[in-house]
Structure formats: C-alpha cells, structure tokens
C-alpha cells in the first residue's frame, strides 16, 4: 500500500507524474501522454482498447456515485459527457487532482488516491470517447485482455 502522509495539496504536475509512472512503469521521464494504454496489447485509445475498458470500470468504481452512470451526470454533480466538450485534458486532470468547490457542491481532491490516480488517464480516455459520441452507454461489449505490463504497472502503482 502506498503510504501517503496526510492529504497534502497535490498539484497537477504530481498527477502527471503519477499517471506517467503508471503508463510507462516509470521507465521514462515525464512526458504526459494523453492516453495511458501501453503499446503491448489493445493499443491506442479507441472504444475497444484496454484503456477505454479500464476507464469504464474505474469511472464506475470511483466517480459514478456523483457523476452518474455512463458519465451522464447525477443530481449531485454535472455530466462529464457534457463537461469534456469544453474541458481539455489538463483542466480535467487538475480538477481530479485538486477537487472543486461550487456553492453547496464539493468535489474532493483525488490527487493522493491511487484508486483514481493510477487510472486517471484511462478514465479520461473513456470519458472523452463518451463525450465524442464514440462509445455507447453501459459495459463495453467485449472485455479486452489486460496487457501484462499494464498489470505489473497497476500492482506497482496501487501497492496492493
């Protein structure tokens, strides 16, 4: 398990590092790719990619209680299918890392939460596909096989 000393004010740069560590297994420097899917299997960031599937899963594990199923928004938080039409990748990342306050609505900061940060690029990939109308609602029809290097990077990142 990753030891985190309190809920320090994380910044976007640390999130990029977090994401880069995941997507590359920490082998390269901070390059901040837009999508995290490693090249070994299910390449790319299309609707059939591992990244999209993983993003679907992690979105529904961590985000959907507030942002609604399939990114469609709830009574609690806005539709990310809509938000990603205007929010760019870096703004998305900064919001996830730092959270957001708006009157009586509060989004927590997820910058130190490996359950989100280890998959944040996958979640972005999934939501961007949903926002661009390239992916339907619900569980992706086919479950891609988890690439071996992704599995290793995941274990390293999650620490469990």
């Amino acid at each position: 398990m990753i030891r985190l000393n309190g809920r320090v004010a994380a910044i976007a740069a640390s999130a990029l590092l977090f994401a880069t560590l995941l997507s590359t297994g920490g082998a390269t420097a901070q390059t901040a790719p837009a999508a995290a899917a490693p090249p070994a299997a299910s390449p790319g960031s299309g609707p059939d990619s591992w990244a999209a599937f993983s993003g679907w899963k992690r979105y529904h594990g961590n985000c959907s209680t507030c942002h609604g199923p399939d990114g469609l928004g709830g009574t609690f938080a806005p539709s990310l299918v809509d938000s990603l039409k205007t929010l760019d990748h870096d703004q998305f990342l900064a919001t996830v890392v730092n959270g957001k306050k708006d009157k009586n609505l509060t989004m927590p900061a997820f910058g130190v939460d490996p359950n989100v940060m280890c998959y944040v690029e996958d979640i972005y990939t999934y939501l961007k596909l949903r926002s661009d109308g390239k992916m339907d609602r619900g569980r992706p029809a086919n479950t891609p096989t988890k690439p071996k290097d992704v599995a290793e990077a995941e274990t390293a990142c999650m620490g469990v």
Partner: protein, 584 residues
Amino acid sequence: MLVAYSYSPSYANDELVTLQQDANQWAMPLGNYSSTRYSTLSQINNSNARNLRVAWTFSTGVLRGHEGGPLVIGDIMYVHTPFPNKVFALDLNRNGAILWSYEPRQDSNVIGVMCCDTVNRGVAYAKGKIFLHQADTTLVALDAKTGKVVWSAKDGDPATGETGTGAPTIAGDYVIIGNSGGEYGVRGNLAAYDMNTGKLAWRAYSQGPDSDTLMNAQKTTHMGKPVGKDSGLAGWKGDQWKRGGGTTWGWTSYDPASQTIYYGSGNPGTWNPVQRPGNNRWSMTIWARDLKTGMAKWVYQMTPHDEWDYDGVNEMVLVDREWKGKPRKLLVHFDRNGFAYVLDRTSGELLGAEKYDPAVNWASSIDLKTGEPVRVAAYSTEHGGEDVSTKNICPAALGSKDQQPVSYSPQTGLFYIPGNHVCMDYEPTKVAYVAGSPYVGATLSMYPPKGENNLGRFVAWDPIAQKSVWEVKEPFSVWSGPLATAGGVVFYGTMDGYLKAVDAKTGNELYKFKTPSGIIGNITTYTHGGKQYVAVLSGVGGWAAIGMAAGLTGANEGLGAVGAYRSLSQYTNLGGTMTVFELP
C-alpha cells in the same frame, strides 16, 4: 394503544414515553420506540381519504434529497433538511410560520465524503430539547423553544470519511447515534451521550476486541451460543477490521421493559469480497444491547462475508404476536438482502426468514438452525475472482428495501413495505485504502428483474404466515417510509413525486397528489385544533436517485415499457418542500 409500555419511573424522559402514546403528536421519527410508524388517528379514513387536499406547504430552501420526516410536539412542527442541516420550528397556529431556524456552520468538504447524497433522516425530541446529528458528525442539542445551542459534541472525523446522516434515538437519559461512511472503510460504532450534558456514556464498535465491541465472551450470544473471546477480531484477515465498515447509519429501536436497544450494522469495508476474506464479524448484524452499559446481549449476523453490499441497518420493528401458538416478543426486520427475519427479541432466537420479494436469487433460503444463508453459487461475486462480472443478481446493492422504514398496523396485522425491485451486475476490483477516499472496489450496474418494468413495489406482508397479501407495482423504487393508521389507510410517497393513500386491506388507491419533487421522506400524521393532518417532505435524491438524470441503459429499453424506462428526470426535479394535507 399498540404496546403496553412498562418503564422505570426514575427515567428523565417519562415525558417521551407519554408523548409517543399521544397520537395527536408525532414525538419520534419512527412514531414510537417499537418503530411501527402506526397512528391511532382515524379522522382520515378509507371512505373519505379521496377528499384530501393540501392545507399548506413550506419550502426548506435546500435542493437535495429530503429523507426522514418532521416531528410534531404541541403546536410546533420541527423540520430538518439535508446538508447544511437546517432545522426549522414551524408554528402550527399560523400555517407553518417560522418560529426559529437553526443552521450549523459546517466545513463543506464533508459533502465530498457523503457517498449517497447529503441526506439527514431527522431530529429527535426530549425534555425541551431538539437533537440533531449533523453531516460533520457533530451531535447538537437545541433549545426547542428558541433554537439556541444547549450543548454540542463532535462524534467522529469527517476527514476519514465518517459522517452523520441518521436520526438520533432518545432512550432513558441517552441520546444514541450511529455513524455513516461504510464506503470509506470507516469503523462502525454506536455512541450513547448523556442527554443533559452531552458527555459520552459509551461507544460500541461493530468489530475489534471485546473492549471495543462491548461484548462478553460468555454472556453475549449468537444463534444461542456464547460468542467467545474477541469474536469481533475473528473472521478478519490481519488488521482489516480497522477499516472494516459495519457502520450504523440506520434506525435504533428500544424496548423499555427490558431496557434493550436494537439496531443493525452495515457492509464490511471494501465491496470487493476477494480482498476481504473471513466472515467479517460483526458487519451485517442485528444487535441487542443494554441501554445503560452498551453491553451486547445477543447478535445475529445475517450476511456473513458479504459479497453484494447488503447492509443490515434497516429498522428493527418490535411487535408482540403469537408465533406458532405461543405469545412471543418478536423483532421483525426486512433486510437489504431480501429476507424478512423474525426473531425472539429477548433471546435472539431466529424463528423465521422468508424472501419478501420473489425476485431474490442470491440465496435460496436461510438455514434456521445455523442462521446461514444458503447461497447460490452462480450469484457469488467472489466465485469468479476480481475483474469478473457476475450478472443478474437480485436484489441489487440497494436491497429489496433500504433505510426507508416499514409501517406495521395492529389493526390489519400487516407490515407495509416500501420496496425496491432492482437487480444488478457486480464486478469486484482491486482497491487501496486511503483515509477519506472511497473504499468501494466494485463496479455495478442496476436494472429491473428480467421481463419486468417496475423498479419498485409497495407490499403488504403477513409476518406470521410470512407471505405477501397484496402489492402495488411502482415505476421507481419506493424510497418513502409509509404510515398506517386506524382509519384503515396507508400513506406513502413515490420517487416521481406522488403522495398516495391506499386501502390498508386491499391496496386500492384512494387518493394521490403530485408534490413539487420526488418523495424519499417518511409520512407523519398529527392533529392540530382537533383536526388530523398528514405531512411529507418532497425533495428527490438519495442513493436511488443518483442516476436520476441518466435513466436506464439501452440494453433494458427493449422490454416494451413506456414509463419505467424513461429517466426519473423526465418526471420530477430537485426540490425541498413540506406538503401538509387535510380533509375539507
């Protein structure tokens, strides 16, 4: 009256025992200590209910899920709201004019750690004070006449995901509250505070060593046998019990004759059963504790090693009925897992357990000898391991019924169950624990049972025959605590916004009125100036409405239904209104 209360006259709250026997007032959230939510009022009855009309309304100014319901003490109605947890004292002599209002200052960061909307299930009254359990876990006592703070006590730490959503229960000299945050790996506990000073009297955890759980290795029993030493550590791997959930966010009942309190504990920490081996004691458990010491008399774990999020927190209804020819002091509990349990509340003996929704499939039955559910392997979410989706499990995590409390009418002998009729796919995933972050580890999708198009059922249930007598199909989950009355009427609310009155014997609809927003609140009745009124909060939200804007997925749209498959947002919108009904 329903129950002949015998109580120790030395208690400070004799007033409360008297108050709950006076049907003109509504003194506690579930109506009385037995949690029957029944009223002996009969002015509004099954022959005139069709003439009901709105007397007055009141806007709370808060647009979130409004669970729970108001109290009525004398000429004052006390109304609570979701976060920011306002309390209003409304003057019934002036159609609900505001006598005083209270709004606590709370760090709004707490909103981010409330899994299922910023709900609150109501305030409690005793000895001239109103007790409120705030979202940030602060328990506050207000002067019922002025709204001024008399004392306050911080119960938990929202930074770890611990929050307050439940209504306090006043029993003896104690204010009893539970905690919320089972989705954050919070350790569930029930706490008793001195009603007059706000000093903590005892705290009892749902897991851990006996000194934490307040269990006695020999005297506390489970299925009639002593639990043994440190039973709350058994059934946990390593130190997982420290983030073991078992939160206590539901309702607490009280038997003044034996001075025993009854409540349930919720899901064990992380919804991923693969990561959480063991029977996870004592999550998903019915507890009987001594009021004064907090010591556990008996426990019954309904769903050991949960794989579906079937929290055991639903209300315990205390009724005295004949069971197999013998008068018994019963405890009846409609669990999230879809079984209606009947226990002897003195001994904890399990007498009966039957499915109250025929859709339930995760277990075929409950073995009354061992207390264990007879599980169906195909619906085990652990069976396939992590990252494998188990499909068509019924009920969904919402349960066949959630916190929305039942009503029991001694007139018909029937329970009235506000029910969900929802199934799910459930996929466990690896999760790391971070204090204050969601500790869920499962991906779910929910839909109605195959071939059906209603997500809700309103059911009349015979607890002795253990069968349903009639049911009303509702398009959405019935997330509103009904009220049965001596007028032969049962009132309940629907998520699309209707207050409905139905005949208690037949379920036939007598009256309905569409309130400004969906109803997830509980129905209250009282009299003022000799006239009976019925009151309900509307304000859609809560867990069942989280997907409100989205509706169901395409896969479920082809079943031919028109209404049920449209999204809830096409029927209603956010709100926060008290609507009070009367006869002309």
